[in-house]
Symmetry: C2
Subunit: 282 residues, 2 copies
């Protein structure tokens, strides 16, 4: 009899569940077309489901002629919101509250006279959104070396892209402590990412097989697969239950499942059902 166990923290995070609910409610209630600015989340399966429910994808603000435009969980620069409203669109802001928290912290630190640094991936939409909230003068620090190109003030304020690691934040803060008089860090890392990684690591250590569910284009899901594979060689990253193969479970007694932050709970439930069926008939 195979035992299937789901990681303590797995699947859609609070912000993704919230954005999905907002999108589905808009599809039901809103007048005119309902579009998300770019795919709502990094999960092609879910994007297709939403399309069938009447939520399509606008690649840019200008291509959305009318109706409702939904902003994704990682937020956008204020300029795009103004542009959308100027086009007469109804803007539905599904930016995750944890991302908004970084915007608010950035604005506050700038108000308090700090030079603002955003620890994160240069060019990432979430980081662009934080820079947008912070205004001119804010700079991105992706790696320690980036500090050398910045004329550091005496008083430095730091906020962090939600998916960054605490180690990266500590490394950059240490360097700032040696170069500035005052360093004020608002740690806006979202625990969801680290919780899922810790839970995947713990589960993979005791499982015969690990199944990681989520978009192949989802960075955090790929990271979960790497972490699982490090201690459970039989790790498979799938986007769709159709990819599951019974041979993966031959001789297996413990099967672990985890999923990225863009994978709805329903997808996990489906995988449990399919794997259960495969193992029973094995």
């Amino acid at each position: 009899m195979v035992e299937i166990e789901i990681a303590a923290h797995a699947g859609a995070c609070y912000g993704v569940e919230r954005a999905l609910a907002m999108a589905r409610a808009a599809a039901r209630d809103a007048e005119g077309p309902v579009r998300t600015l770019g795919p709502l989340i990094h999960n092609p399966l879910v994007v297709d489901e939403l399309a069938r429910e009447g939520v399509s994808v606008a690649q840019s603000v200008s291509t959305a002629d009318a109706g409702t435009l939904i902003l994704r969980t990682h937020g956008v620069v204020p300029r795009l919101v103004e542009q959308a409203r100027a086009q007469g669109l109804h803007v539905l802001d599904a930016t995750c509250p944890y991302v908004k928290r970084a915007h608010a912290a950035a604005r506050r630190l700038v108000r308090q006279g700090f030079q603002l640094l955003v620890v994160g991936e240069a060019g990432h939409p979430e980081v662009e959104g934080i820079l947008g909230a912070a205004g001119d003068g804010a700079r991105v620090v992706s790696r320690l070396a980036d500090l050398d190109g910045i004329d550091l003030a005496e008083r430095i304020g730091v906020v962090v892209q939600t998916t960054q690691t605490i180690e990266r934040l500590q490394q950059i803060t240490d360097a700032l402590l040696a170069r500035a008089r005052e360093v004020c860090v608002v740690n806006t890392i979202c625990a969801a990412t680290t919780d899922r990684q810790r839970a995947a690591r713990a589960l993979a250590e005791r499982e015969d097989v690990m199944i990681v569910i989520g978009g192949k284009n989802s960075g955090n899901t790929r990271r979960l697969a790497e972490i699982s594979a490090a201690s459970c060689p039989k790790t498979h990253h799938i986007e769709d239950v159709a990819e599951l193969e019974s041979s993966w479970f031959y001789g297996a007694r413990l099967v672990g499942i985890t999923a990225g932050a863009s994978t709805p709970a329903a997808h996990i439930d489906r995988a449990v059902a399919v794997i259960g069926g495969m193992c029973d008939s094995a």
Copy 2:
């Protein structure tokens, strides 16, 4: 011909020079007895010099019956200042401005609603002074383990005893970043200590003999001697030029000199003269 070189940063720091000048001015100008609350600096030679100039040592506020009471460079708790004034003493505050900066930063962070932590040696007068400025609720963190005994708030403010190392500050800040939402660090470490250590290390690497001048009871001078000895085995820590021995300089071509933060420039000049004389007559 022996070459004598003084370290790039050596001898009395800004705060000590300032306190000495204030004490000597008071001895000249003040009415009534002039006392320092405890030895003005960790250098018995200097304390004797001051005594000959009319500046004696009061071991406590209560033992100072009248006249002027001078507060040392590392500052005191506000309660002692009030007590001295209540006794009718004229209080001359020679607290180093860099120490006062830590007091001001502590008060500001408390005003801004941060829980205040002081990184430093529990019980050290300077740390007591900062705690006094910060008021109730402020706690001392000497080692990482101390954090476990503190009920950490979401928002933590940190100031540092001037003589702490940047490595200690970074270590404790890293731990706080993983446990609190916002960490605001005002780095009140005084560069004088690190500058002297760096200069001693650089000098000792190329000298045949190193002479380190300063109180045997002075922590920072002992630290300089340790650093020098690490790369120049012939390192001698002296308090008084009378301790110099010509045999130390036999065969030496390069003689380096450094001195702790409580050693007046005059003491360095005297050592240079005596060593020069010894080497000429060798």
